[in-house]
Amino acid sequence: GQQVMQIPQYQHVQEGEDFTTYCNSSTTLSNIQWYKQRPGGHPVFLIQLVKSGEVKKQKRLTFQFGEAKKNSSLHITATQTTDVGTYFCAGPPSNGGSNYKLTFGKGTLLTVNP
């Protein structure tokens, strides 16, 4: 079945440093979604990318979808303590079948030292 891998599993940075997490799927994705889960909270949708090579920005966050639609990245510029949490990527396969479900990566836990 489809697998979505994320690296790194953990990342600890000093406040102000940049952070990047990478997501790779074993199959082509119709779209890629990113979620953030604060400690003790529930996942919250951040963004969805649909087009091959698409890049979207949300303030200090930059999201990219690979040309082959099998990988994605999230880059945070100048991290702040409010960025702490686990970042998940998720996507449905593009090859039909049971298309109502997302496969989530295991997430990258970001901690920020003030």
């Binding site: 529930h42 998720a90 109502y100 479900k101 295991k106 997430g107």
Partner: protein, 117 residues
Amino acid sequence: SQTIHQWPATLVQPVGSPLSLECTVEGTSNPNLYWYRQAAGRGLQLLFYSVGIGQISSEVPQNLSASRPQDRQFILSSKKLLLSDSGFYLCAWEGGLAGGHSYNEQFFGPGTRLTVL
């Protein structure tokens, strides 16, 4: 606006006891509904999903079951809990498209933290 409710927020149950977790969605109709489990604060494991009343798809064989008695109500149950059932249970909804496929974002409820002792 749409809201999703889950209860209870926390639950401590003995091994072998039954379980019933409820999830309700407001402000939308015919949503796709999902139950996930998150162990040790990490990855999300899809347990069940439903595209309509009475329609349940199971992703992982286990001692859990799900039901959707109403359009916006999703229930997760177990007749006898195991220690391995401990975790953070999350319900989510997704907009869906009538008669088609939708890959819209999923909105998660606040979750239920279940500890089985």
